[in-house]
């Protein structure tokens, strides 16, 4: 169970999630401080530790549109938040999968800040309103990366397989 700690609308770009002026900061260990840096209140909540692991950032359609900057996924991953959205932009979604930021696609989701949401295999249950919303599962291509623990681990496995085959 997680609480909705922040709600945003359609077409939230990576410029909003991780402003360009912080792009010289690249390491996943250093990016979280700049998450939603221009949304001062939410950023303060995050940096002061007022957001718990498993809390939920709620978005509408096309969350993460724009630049391919991976910091937009790594900065949120650093707080253990789950992003529940009506839809995600492709590159952001792939970066999230690669880095292990949990994303849930619920095209009809309705919830407000403070609501308690439970995420199951097939739906999001809003325990505050008593309503449930179907989710769209990751396709196998993305699920395989998630199951491997992220793309670094997945690529490492592939690399070892390949080198093993070559040297054999």
């Amino acid at each position: 169970m997680g609480k909705v700690v922040y709600e945003v609308g359609n077409d939230i770009s990576t410029d909003a999630i991780y402003p360009g002026r912080f792009m010289a900061t690249v390491l996943p260990s250093e990016t979280p401080q700049f998450a939603f840096a221009d949304e001062k209140e939410f950023n303060a909540k995050l940096t002061k530790g007022e957001v718990a692991d498993g809390d939920i950032l709620l978005a509408a359609n096309n969350f993460g549109c724009g630049s391919s900057r991976e910091q937009a996924a790594s900065c949120l991953k650093g707080y253990g938040v789950i992003v529940v959205a009506r839809g995600f932009a492709r590159i952001f979604m792939q970066n999230a999968v690669n880095l292990g930021l949990q994303t849930v696609v619920a095209p009809e989701i309705e919830a407000s800040v403070g609501d308690e949401l439970e995420i199951t295999q097939t739906e999001v249950i809003n325990h505050t309103t008593g309503k449930s919303y179907a989710t769209i599962a990751h396709p196998p291509a993305r699920q395989a990366i998630i199951d491997a623990g992220g793309l670094i681990a997945y690529a490492r496995k592939k690399l070892l397989e390949e080198k093993g085959v070559k040297s054999a």
Binding site: N98, A141, K158
Partner: protein, 429 residues
Amino acid sequence: MGATLAEKILARASGQDSVRPGDVIEPRVDLAMSHENAALVINQFTEVYKDTGLDSRVWDPSRIAIIFDHRVPAEGMKTANNQKKIREFVTAQGITKFHEIRGDEGGICHQILPENGYVRPGQVLVGTDSHTTTHGALGALAWGIGATEMAAVWSLGRVLNVEVPATIKVVVTGEMKEPVSAKDLILYLIGHITAQGANFRVLEFHGPAIRSLSTSGRLVLSNMSVEAGATAGLVIPDAETERYLREEAGVTDPIELLQPDDDAVYERVVEIDISNLEPQIACPHTVDNVKPVGEVVGKPINQIVIGSCTNGRLDDISVAAAILKGKKVSHSTRMLVFPASGRIYRQAMDLGYLQILMEAGAVVMNSGCGCCLGIHQGALADGEVALSTTNRNFKGRMGNPNAEVFLCSPAVAAASAITGVITDPRKGN
């Protein structure tokens, strides 16, 4: 059942006879491009090799391109240190397609790749930049990926777990009448299908109006395809593609103009007649908030920007110079011009365009991403408004979330520079 161009390219690159949307493949990569964010790719690449006992060498140093463009020259020590780290990696790994901060070879990645002949029809090209879609203008399937995904490409030479995307066919008919340009067409299309209208899809451009566009204009279409969410934006390669590659990019080896099948299956067909298209403007704060210029004329502008990987090419600068020749940039605004590459800069200098623009009052900046992403040049003040030929107007894009960015063609930008307010270039001042 026939294949779209994207399906043909992906089938070849994955060693299969055919692929269909939804198939999961691992296509081989012909070219892997990064810019300053290579600093993060290097970090993730090292992570992939960690504890494997393997020597961390990239799969093919001749197929990796690294271009310094986002923050050139470095605006601060953090960037300078990233650039230094990348230089050392480039040397250690023997990466050949490296473009430094230089007036002869430097520029924006999405101009450097085409003008140096690195891009060919039928290729698979990935880049750690969302506007990697640009290279679809030459018939290459080119898409943006994150840094970790690039680290996997550097390690293995292929993109892991790619789901073959469906294709939307865009058929453009009619005749484009100056000063209407490719920029107006793509802005119109994005407004029409929305910022997520092509999410997880490929756009494939067809029709006589596309055939008659120069490569420079086609690059604009493919560049901004990502603003409709598209994975890639493909123009079918033709005689113009070959002309560009031979005459402008200096390619001498054989060029294959790979075509989609006539019976290819498209998810959707979008038809546009541009005969009566007006100059278009994308209003704040989304690229799909597009209006004909007539609806926003008279809006006061604080900063006019001409440049970027979208509209910083020679023809764009030429259009601006023609409009500003003998005129002055209004003192109620300021005008910044940043050519997309050192080569374009020098050509614009030789042809006298830069002289004209500077005499009019414009500031000509060095080649690079400049104010496009508001990091170290041309940031806006609170409440200011910019009119720009770049490709994004998201909140905060030009360095300030309390400012506004309108997007337009070079003709609209230049005409507006004279008046200081948004101006229809067909009417002038």
